[in-house]
Amino acid sequence: MTSVQTSTAPSPAARSWIGRGLIASGRGIALTGLILAELGLLCALAIAVTFAAVGVGLFFIPGLVTASRAVANTIRRLAGEWCGVPIAVPYLPAPTAPGGDPGLWRRYGWLLNDPATWRDLLWMTVDSLVGWALTLTPAGLVAWGLFGVVMPAVWHPIVGAGGNNWYAFIHVTGAGRAWLSVPLGVVFILAGLWAGPPLLSAYGRFARRLLAPASRVQLERRVRRLAETRSVAVEAGAAEVRRIERDLHDGAQARLVAMGMTLDAADQLLDDNPAAARVLLTEARETSVKALAELRDLVRGIHPPVLADRGLADAIRALALDSPVQVQVAAALPDRPEPPVESAAYFAVSELLTNVTKHAGARQARVDVRHDGGILRIEVRDNGSGGADATRGSGLAGIQRRLGAFDGTMTVSSPPGGPTVVTLEIPCALSSPKTSTS
């Protein structure tokens, strides 16, 4: 249910398992460094809380909590990048104040009320106690194995210095036993390299238990998001109804009134001046043609007939045919999405193709439509000049708002010089069309 996108790049197939093991060991060492930082922060917090009674510590606590969050966030990020376990950031939004600084007490309230603060503390404690067992084991095994491999060179000085030199189960007292420890050392190194990646991913899963948002927080977020998108959807619906009412009132309705008056005038003239009556009748017919054209445009804007008739794929093909730019369409939809999703997707593509024509200066465009894994994916790509910005163009922002009502997302990639690629993703199921193809 989290909306985090996994960004782990697949490791190149060429990289051997030894390389992966080495990288995992190195990453384990880096994570151990973070565990040490947590340990330090825990001690500092303990001291600050102790001195809170005399007042001094109070001023340090928010800073220390903020530092802990930075460390925790680093682990969240690395869990995604290194361990393949993306973790969402759970914190409540910071308080805002008109003066800028919300003040110490409000900051306290914000930090202490956030369940994530306490979960972070718990995490830091558990991680300091057992986390390093996961992060340090691969590197430890490799280091211990290296010690075994170099044993023939180092056993003599150790024993000479009076050391009781055991290598695992081998009591190294002479050259023969020192050589015996070499193969054992190799086994340790290989074991460390082999265990590296799985242990790293185990650490990621372990971290997610405490660092991911608590389910209550996730639900609260979801509710907030739903409330936002619902009000946007309701508002958009109301605005649409107002627009339709206005269009009808100023357009077709007005023309019908005019037509009625013209026909009445023609009626008056029919006996005395048939020629003038004929002119008026022609005029009335022209008015009716215009009224029909306006109604047709209105209907296209509400629910395009071709979408109702044929579904999304053919409706997009129809858009492509009407576009002055050469648009290739590759659509493979075994069935039809729900009508509201279909409609939102259609108008989004319509808007995007209009952008391609108007702004991109493109000669060619391509639309790919497919549905897999419960997600309707539409990619619109053009060979134009790029530089589209979702935060500036009101059209793109509008698409994002409309897709939001379906938990859909839009990503825009548009480097200067192009190409522009806009990807729409809407989670939805496909159902058989209500129309029977006979």
């Binding site: 017919r285 029909l292 109702a308 129809a318 009407d322 002055p324 050469q326 006979s438």
Partner: protein, 214 residues
């Protein structure tokens, strides 16, 4: 000339029948669903069928499908499809078999009785009648085409009329020029668009439509 009409709305069906009969057509049957249409077409063998795109049971594109089915049954059967809106996609499907005798018009065109019956006549005689709006959209679709940009404004007008399916005589009358001038323009258009010239009116129209629809 014998006509079969398929239109589900009673008012429009009666209106069409009355209008066509007033202009000397013989309305052999007027039906309101695709099944009856196919039955009547095979029984009456009309000179032309006028079919609304929206027919029961789903009121989407049954009429179009019925028209295509009827032409599969009786190859070359002239059909004129009427609709409240026009789509290039549907125009292509109607033209796909390349045999002509096809019309695709907005319902609005019925309001101008003479033009409508002209179009009907043309389709019945093996020609085509494409709605000006379809042609306008085809032209928009080709906005970036250099060959079209090379046409003079007059040649463009002739091209549009030709794509709608009008004969040289009809184009001459519409643009108020001589038929010889129209012939000169069409020859020039075919050279500029690099199309094979043809004396056959209908083949010429289909070539132009195919060119625009690329």
């Amino acid at each position: 000339m014998r006509v079969v009409i398929a239109e589900d709305l009673y008012l429009l069906r009666e209106g069409l029948t009355r209008m066509l009969e007033a202009r000397g057509f013989d309305v052999a049957a007027a039906v309101d669903n695709p099944e009856d249409l196919l039955t009547e077409i095979t029984r009456q063998r009309p000179d032309v069928a006028v079919i609304d795109v929206r027919l029961p049971p789903t009121f989407t594109d049954e009429g179009l499908r019925a028209a295509l089915a009827a032409r599969r049954e009786i190859p070359g059967l002239p059909v004129l499809v009427l609709s409240q809106y026009v789509e290039q996609l549907y125009a292509r499907e109607l033209l796909a078999d390349g045999s002509g005798s096809v019309g695709y018009l907005l319902k609005d065109r019925v309001l101008d009785g003479r033009q409508f019956t002209d179009a009907l006549q043309r389709v019945a005689e093996g020609g085509t009648a494409m709605d000006p709006e379809v042609i306008a959209r085809l032209i928009t679709h080709n906005e970036g085409n250099d060959a079209l940009a090379a046409l003079s404004p007059r040649e463009r007008q002739v091209l549009e009329s030709m794509a709608e399916g009008r004969s040289n005589a009809a184009i001459a009358q519409r643009l108020v020029i001589t038929e010889r001038a129209v012939a000169k323009h069409t020859a020039s258009i075919f050279v500029k668009l690099d199309l094979q010239p043809s004396d056959d009116d209908n083949r010429r129209v289909l070539a132009v439509l195919a060119y625009l629809g690329q």
